[in-house]
């Protein structure tokens, strides 16, 4: 088997980080107002349930996990079921841990280094600047949805569109839908969301931390 390409790594992280970024988007009438609403958010933690829908699956494949975010650029995106996988981002350092026979093992830093390029864009999203990315067209819908559509046809072949469903509480969203095609999409629903409750920095730096639920 060949190595998974850097583009694939980008897309996977992009998916996870984008889902995190949208937490910073409180309800607003337009994208400009939306940016102003996010300035009070310092940290976010939430559980999430991910449903992967495929044409060949009668029932979606369900994954569960936890999200931690600390402004400006610290993130922990962790899957706990059915396969444990942990993505850590703290300042400029990115680490990803994969389950192996001998426990959780860090992926080689070489394969993660290229992700750094994307961090600049992700940071823009963290600031609620969804329209700052020239590769994505962002539209605010009247039903509290933000729809992001890739402008680049090559990227559109991978991700057709991303829909962010906002709640009426600023800084909290209900769900993210990532559509790859008409029959393949991923729904991520967030729950037990906590804003600005403070998160220890070790959460973003160590595989195991004081908040482990397992």
């Amino acid at each position: 088997m060949k190595k998974i390409s850097k583009n694939t790594e980008y897309a996977a992280v992009l998916t996870a980080l984008l889902a995190c970024a949208v937490f910073l988007t409180g309800w607003a009438d337009d994208l400009e107002t939306l940016k102003e609403k996010v300035t009070f958010v310092e940290s976010i933690q939430a559980d999430f349930t991910q449903e992967k829908h495929l044409e060949m699956l009668e029932q979606p494949l369900i994954s569960k996990g936890e999200l931690y975010f600390q402004a400006p650029r610290s993130l922990r995106w962790e899957y706990t079921q059915p396969v444990r996988s942990v993505l850590l981002m703290h300042n400029d350092e990115i680490r990803r841990y994969v389950r192996t026979d001998s426990g959780m093992e860090a992926q080689k830093s070489r394969s993660l280094e290229a992700m750094r390029v994307f961090l600049g864009e992700i940071c823009m999203w963290m600031q609620g600047e969804f329209d700052a990315n020239p590769d994505l067209e962002a539209r605010m819908k009247s039903d509290r949805r933000v729809v992001l559509t890739p402008k680049d046809p090559a990227m559109a072949e991978v991700i057709e569109r991303i829909e962010l469903r906002l709640t009426d509480t600023p800084g909290v969203i209900d769900a993210v839908s990532i559509h790859e095609s008409a029959t393949s999409y991923t729904d991520i629903r967030f729950h037990d969301t906590k804003i600005n409750e403070g998160i220890e920095s070790t959460v973003f730096q160590k595989l195991s931390h004081g908040r482990d639920k397992q």
């Binding site: 060949k2 998974i4 694939t8 992967k52 899957y79 192996t100 790859e180």
Partner: protein
């Protein structure tokens, strides 16, 4: 000088990885012979199945990657469909085999037919009974019951070694009797995810070892298994 040393090293490694041969098979009693033949056949699927498995790839460079695979197997037709996605849900590969490889969607490097062919060959080796012109049944010198299938086209051999109560080993050799792949199969609940129990007639853990200079290992752990109707229409 350096080139010569490298050449020698390559020749040595090729020899080390290629100079294996088939172990001699000793005859078994008629009862053991019949039981071994039955157990070898019993491993391979006879009914269509859909499996969802976690996939961990241990790559030649020492790297580790994880993914989730959804596989549909129609053993009677030799037809397979497979979707591989990242843990985050991004579809990396969507393709099928029905006499020929078709790729519906793939992100590089998964878009190469070489990858798809290797993957479907792995699925066939692990789940489908070999189309053999001859099956030799017996025991190895250590007492392990074995079925050795010889391909009718002379392209090699497949062995099923009944190495334990809840496990077996499949080996594929080239026509030159060089070991190419080893598949360790475990049915025991102890091999499955904690608390998931196991799935009876479907292996809960499969380890596929590709041997050679750039060998790699694929570990598959069962998440869920489902029987499919035999009359299912061909998927597009």
């Amino acid at each position: 000088m350096v080139r010569g040393a490298i050449l020698l090293l390559v020749c040595f490694l090729l020899c080390v990885s290629g100079c294996r041969s088939l172990a001699p098979i000793q005859p078994a009693s008629s009862a053991l012979h019949a039981d071994t033949a039955r157990q070898c056949r019993a491993h391979f699927l006879t009914r269509p199945r859909q499996l969802v498995q976690s996939l961990t790839a241990y790559l030649p460079d020492g790297g580790v990657r994880d993914a989730i695979a959804v596989i549909r197997i129609h053993p009677e037709a030799g037809r397979f469909k497979c979707v591989i996605m990242s843990v985050e849900g991004l579809v990396l590969f969507d393709g099928e085999y029905d006499g020929a490889v078709s790729i519906h969607r793939a992100i590089p490097p998964f878009d190469e037919k070489k990858f798809a062919r290797a993957m479907f060959a792995d699925i066939r080796l692990a789940f489908i009974s070999p189309e053999a012109w001859n099956v030799e049944v017996g025991i190895l010198s250590g007492g392990t019951p074995i079925c050795r299938y010889a391909y009718s086209d002379g392209k090699g051999f497949v062995e099923v070694r009944l190495s334990g109560a809840d496990c077996l080993e499949i080996r594929r050799y080239t026509g030159g009797k060089r070991l190419r792949e080893t598949v360790d199969i475990c049915y025991a609940p102890a091999c499955s995810f904690p608390g998931s129990g196991g799935a009876g007639e479907i292996p809960v853990k499969i380890d596929i070892f590709h041997h050679g200079l750039f060998g790699y290992r694929l570990e598959l752990k069962l998440i869920e298994a489902k029987e499919l109707p035999r009359t299912e229409k061909q998927e597009g």
